[in-house]
Symmetry: C2
Subunit: 320 residues, 2 copies
């Protein structure tokens, strides 16, 4: 059998990454470009597929399979992108069928958090662990479970969604329809909102006056020892420790890997978080659960997409 | 290979069940007797093993393997019972080694909730589902995850412990050391405590005056439309829906099976619980998750122990 190339596609709301890899795991080529969401799914996908064709032409090798990570909700079995918040216009979009028709090779689709989790499991902070709980804290909070090298999907690929576990029964209404979800408090959006609300309450002003505050500016203010930011940060840690602590008590993974923009806070986040989780998790020896920062950054998604592609190639068939 | 018998042992804080099964899955013999905890682990185990020897002598068949379910914490790998609350004196007790030496066959130990979950998965309410989340609500709240016919153990067999997920950050201190665990609110003990506290507060009396109240009497009072009991029950449902809802959001199992004494309330529990969980779980179509009462009752543990024994027999070796 001749050497086959695998393509990985990581579709995000703001940027797209594409990479080619040979079967030995060597990166042959890659490209990144912004997601021009206004162009709609057909044109965006055409741009992605042309990029792959160009890269293939340069290498002269044959494509064997494609793996794709994409914001959810998706329908893995039917290969559809249902209607992600940050991909407007992608409604029940038959992504897998489109790519299959263009290339005539097996195509595997999974959601972006699952793809990133696979990337971290095989090439990042999760290497060497049997089981992994992955969480990404950025605009929202996503999550995924990897068990012995495989994503645990669960019913309609819904598993791992720690951002929508309820950590404060009397908390804020969440965009998902429930109340007090971890995401309302500890996502980048939640952190910025709570900081704005506190400042407005303290200064008697309007929340709108503080609209330029982001999770990043809160983290900067914590580093400058701003008391209000510190209170917001402590609350962030407190509820992340409940949500992630509960996930650990349920799944008992060997490692928790935290990615996403908020994880860029590094030890400012991880140090106190480990301590708080240690108080909340009592059913297993918490020192046996490593709580780590993701190491692949924006590469985790495309790395995971390549792993999805390789799994399709190994099975030698369309695995939908 | 001649027909081999498998023995299952279900050790509880108040009673013990032992059963023999042939490889075709036919029940050959069984026995039940009370756990006289005052006698200590050696004598209790000797009584169990003598019962197995007597039953084997009656059948004339050879023993092939033994499976044991026992209250945790246990050390599965080393085959030790560490120090369960309801088995006083069982401290780092080498249960597996003792049974292996007596019978010279492979022995598998797991905790009681895991054994009961296997029983329900293969023979009870969980039949036909790929994945199962099992929860037992009695004095405490235990839990277990079965994925494709196997227990998901996780780090130090700690997975599935939904009773010690935090559902009320400002709640009552739990015996586990954390605060606001589901068990403090929704276990039989928690239900009775909250009823006593409400009655004492209403009537100006002492909580001790109501010490005869149990979860069972609360359920009876709900059926008689007692307003205080109704308030306690509504709160029970509210927090069970958060804890079990969070477990569903993390694991996305095809079914949740609820066993234990409190589950005997039946539809009084399950009806409102399904409705409340439906509001809390937003990341997957909740109608695809069946929420069911366990059907094996006190048989689930010994059924699961037999499955553990069969797994040891099939692997043909000591699987510790």
């Amino acid at each position: 059998m001749s050497q086959k190339i695998v393509a990985g596609i990581d579709i995000g709301g703001t940027k797209i990454a594409v990479a080619l890899e040979n079967q030995a795991g060597g990166r042959v080529a890659d490209r990144r470009f912004p997601t021009d969401v206004a162009r709609g799914p057909e044109k965006i996908v055409d741009e992605i597929l042309r990029a792959i064709e160009e890269m293939l032409a340069e290498t002269g090798a044959a494509l064997g399979a494609v793996g794709i990570g994409c914001p959810g909700p998706i329908d893995i079995e039917r290969g559809l992108v249902l209607s992600p918040t940050n991909l407007p216009g992608w409604i029940d979009f038959p992504l897998v069928e489109l790519v299959e028709k263009r290339f005539g090779v097996p195509v595997v689709l999974d959601n972006d958090a699952n793809a990133a989790a696979l990337g971290e499991y095989f090439f990042g902070a999760g290497r060497g662990f049997r089981d992994l709980f992955y969480v990404t804290i950025s605009t929202g909070i996503g999550g995924a479970i990897v068990c012995e090298g495989r994503i645990h999907h669960g019913v309609q690929a819904g598993a791992g969604e720690v951002g929508h576990t309820i950590v404060d029964p009397h908390g804020t209404a969440c965009r998902c329809g429930a109340r007090g979800c971890l995401e309302t408090i500890a996502s980048g959006t939640g952190i910025a909102r709570r900081m704005r609300e506190r400042l407005a309450a303290q200064n008697g002003g309007n929340v709108e006056n503080y609209r330029r505050i982001t999770a990043e500016t809160v983290v900067e203010a914590v580093r400058s020892d701003n008391a209000t930011a510190r209170a917001v940060w402590d609350e962030t840690i407190e509820f992340l420790a409940i949500g992630l602590g509960n996930a650990i008590t349920i799944v008992a993974p060997q490692a928790v890997v935290i990615g996403g923009g908020v994880a860029a806070a590094g030890e400012l986040l991880l140090g106190p978080l480990r301590e708080a989780i240690g108080k909340n998790v009592t059913m297993l020896p918490i020192e046996k659960v490593e709580i780590l920062k993701a190491t692949l950054g924006s590469e985790s998604g495309v790395c995971g997409a390549l792993i999805l592609g390789k799994s399709a190639l190994e099975r030698g068939q369309n695995v939908r």
